[in-house]
């Protein structure tokens, strides 16, 4: 990651700062207003499992819509063109629908408080401890990435020294999560979702107008980069060269299946939002409601990226003075007058803080309920764990500040995150999918599958790719391949270990494996949940069909 170019300094005035100040005040206000609702540790970590589906659904999409995602996906658009749609339509929607329709009954119905806790029930303590530890470690790392990215963006755009924005953003996240818990984090995410839309929609419209509409944009880019730049699947035949460095098989398997399912179905920062829903129907609808905004957000992220590529043909290359990550900040400074500019700055800062808060609020849950309560200080009263959760939140924020500088060595923030996810989520996903669908998968197979998958993905990325044993054209392409390698290694090891070790007794698998049900899960549907537009199957299949239809204009 390079420091943003100095000429991106935004011409902010008092009006923009007023808008920003109002937002910060509201963020803190939400935290303190939510304080009264935190009575038990379950309130603090999972909002007492009581939020409505539209709130958890928007928080689900906003937790993913951090600023690293926004800047990173616009960067991917500027670098690779329309191919960025793969991260949304094949790389998110199917996995979100799968989570809602297939996996959520097991997650929500078994009453687990976290993703690792599910592994404890399905497998054993080693698997649980390993996944809790990996998750806690990854959350702090990713939270640090967010904070570092925030500091360099704010320095470039507003001229604040890096340490100021790190301390200020860290303080706000610390304050509102420590006080208000997950409810506060989720409410702020919902708010951030709307602010970011209010920032990106005007930017997209003005950007398109600037380059002569969609036709003007495609004409310019076709001249500069060739027709494949504006096609989702162009040049992705096996053996063809394309800017992404990946073929259709690695896109569908690596991104669409392994990476995407790993991220969306087992990343606790996401799943936690669904677990805080008020009943099973709302939990199932959480990722399904999120799928609809998710599939359209690509337009307001990709188009600014493409416009930046059209305006600055050499963006990202030596001598342009701009990196791909500058795409959105560049358009902000070129196009937005004071007022909307303040909204955009607020949206960007809000997205940074929400991205960090999602990681911190899932980290504190896993660290408290999965590590501390189960292995270190057991069987204390609930108030103790509530207090400890607040303390761990503070520690998590401080640790994030400490790790903020690890992000410095990658030029594309997204590549860095994807790399991390391929190491931490993919093996977890393989263990989940086999554990949920194969009754015979033995108690011990979970731990070894997780270990082997993680080790294999890391070995593939750091040894085979980075040392150049096998040539893979780009970091992104290497991520897809590493993910597939991790998945296959995890699956093979799980099957092998299962053949030689004892299965879990059938009666202990109730509600954890496909074809079984949790005792006590048969709750009557809440009033109004039988309305046709709330039917999970309709929402889920509707999302899949719509995402497939969206591909058509970019595939022909």
């Amino acid at each position: 990651m390079h420091v943003l170019a100095a000429e991106l300094r935004l011409p902010t005035n008092w009006l923009d700062y007023l808008i920003l100040a109002i937002y910060f005040a509201v963020v803190l206000g939400i935290g303190f207003a939510a304080r009264a609702s935190v009575k038990t540790s379950l309130d603090f970590f999972l909002s007492g499992r009581s939020l409505p589906a539209w709130v958890t659904g928007l928080a689900f999409v906003a937790a993913n819509l951090g600023a690293t995602e926004i800047l990173g996906m616009a960067a991917t658009g500027a670098q690779y063109g329309v191919a960025v749609v793969h991260w949304y339509w094949v790389g998110a929607i199917p996995a979100m629908v799968f989570l809602g329709l297939v996996m959520m009954p097991f997650y929500y119905g078994s009453k687990v408080r976290s993703v690792p806790e599910f592994l404890l029930h399905r497998f054993d303590k080693p698997a649980h401890l390993l996944s809790s530890g990996l998750f806690a470690f990854a959350s702090i790392l990713i939270s640090g990435v967010n904070l570092y990215a925030l500091s360099i963006v704010v320095e470039a755009l507003l001229g604040w020294p890096q340490w100021v924005s790190i301390v200020v953003a860290g303080f706000f996240v610390l304050a509102y999560i420590t006080v208000g818990g997950l409810s506060s984090a989720i409410y702020n995410e919902v708010l951030q979702f709307f602010v970011i839309l209010a920032a990106l929609i005007p930017l997209t419209v003005l950007g398109l107008k600037r380059v002569g509409g969609w036709d003007g944009l495609t004409d310019t880019l076709t001249k500069q980069h060739g027709g494949d730049f504006l096609s989702a699947w162009g040049g992705t035949g096996i053996g063809d060269a394309n800017p992404l460095g990946a073929n259709w098989l690695t896109i569908v398997l690596g991104l669409g299946f392994v990476l995407s399912f790993g991220y969306w179905t087992t990343n606790f920062a996401e799943v936690q939002r669904a677990l805080s829903a008020k009943n099973l129907s709302a939990a199932k609808r959480t990722p399904l409601i999120a799928a609809f905004p998710k599939m359209f957000i690509v337009f307001i992220v990709m188009i600014p990226g493409l416009v930046a590529a059209a305006l600055v043909p050499r963006i990202g290359l030596e001598g342009s003075g701009l990196t791909y990550n500058d795409a959105i900040p560049l358009l902000m400074s070129e196009l937005l007058p004071n007022g909307v500019l303040g909204i955009a700055v607020t949206g960007l800062l809000a997205a940074f803080m929400a991205g960090m808060a999602a990681n911190v609020s899932s980290f504190n849950t896993v660290f408290t309920t999965d590590i501390w309560q189960k292995y270190v200080v057991k069987d204390r009263e609930d108030r103790y764990y509530l207090r400890f959760g607040r303390l761990v939140t503070a520690i998590g924020v401080v640790a994030s500040i400490g790790t903020a500088f690890l992000a410095a060595s990658f030029s594309n923030i997204m590549g860095y995150l994807q790399t991390l996810f391929s190491f931490f989520n993919v093996p977890l996903f393989v263990v989940f999918i086999i554990g949920m669908f194969w009754k015979r998968a033995s108690v011990k197979s979970g731990f070894y599958g997780l270990l082997a998958g993680t080790a294999a993905a890391m070995a593939n990325y750091f040894v085979i790719y980075k040392q150049g044993v096998i040539a893979i054209p780009t970091d992104q392409g290497a991520n897809f391949v590493s993910a597939i390698v991790g998945f296959v290694a995890g699956a093979v090891v799980m099957v092998a270990v299962t053949l030689f070790t004892a299965p879990k007794p059938e009666e202990q698998l109730a509600g954890l494996v496909y074809g079984t049900r949790s005792p006590g899960m048969e709750e009557p549907p809440a009033e109004g949940d039988d309305a046709w537009y709330r039917r999970p199957a309709l929402l889920g299949w509707g999302a899949i069909i719509l995402a497939a239809a969206l591909y058509l204009p970019y595939s022909l």
Partner: protein, 100 residues
């Protein structure tokens, strides 16, 4: 039921979120109404330089009106469908203890 399920069910019964957490629609509605007014005013008083920068579009005006509409939408929704009162908690030993 396993121990953890029992523990979570117990906590769920004692949870205060459903009863005490405020409605987020009020905050979204309030913030976007305020933002809408501020940005719309900036649009009404836009200078020629502002218009030139935004390729001739009065972007503050349109964005402001859009945000105002969203804010009012949330306030109206809240008015028409107020927060449902939480279901009365099942009577048990704990519930009869005085609230702290």
């Amino acid at each position: 039921m396993s121990d953890v399920q029992r523990e979570v069910s117990e906590l769920e019964r004692k949870s205060a979120t459903a009863a005490r957490l405020f409605d987020i629609r009020r905050i979204i509605g309030g913030l976007f109404t305020v933002y809408g007014i501020i940005v719309t005013i900036a649009g009404i008083t836009a200078s020629d330089a502002d218009l030139d920068k935004a390729v001739g579009v009065n972007v503050n005006l349109w964005t402001g009106l859009g945000m105002l509409a969203l804010g009012i939408f949330f306030l109206v929704w809240l008015k028409l469908r107020p927060t449902a009162p939480p279901p009365p908690p099942p009577a048990s030993e704990d519930d009869r203890q005085p609230q702290r």
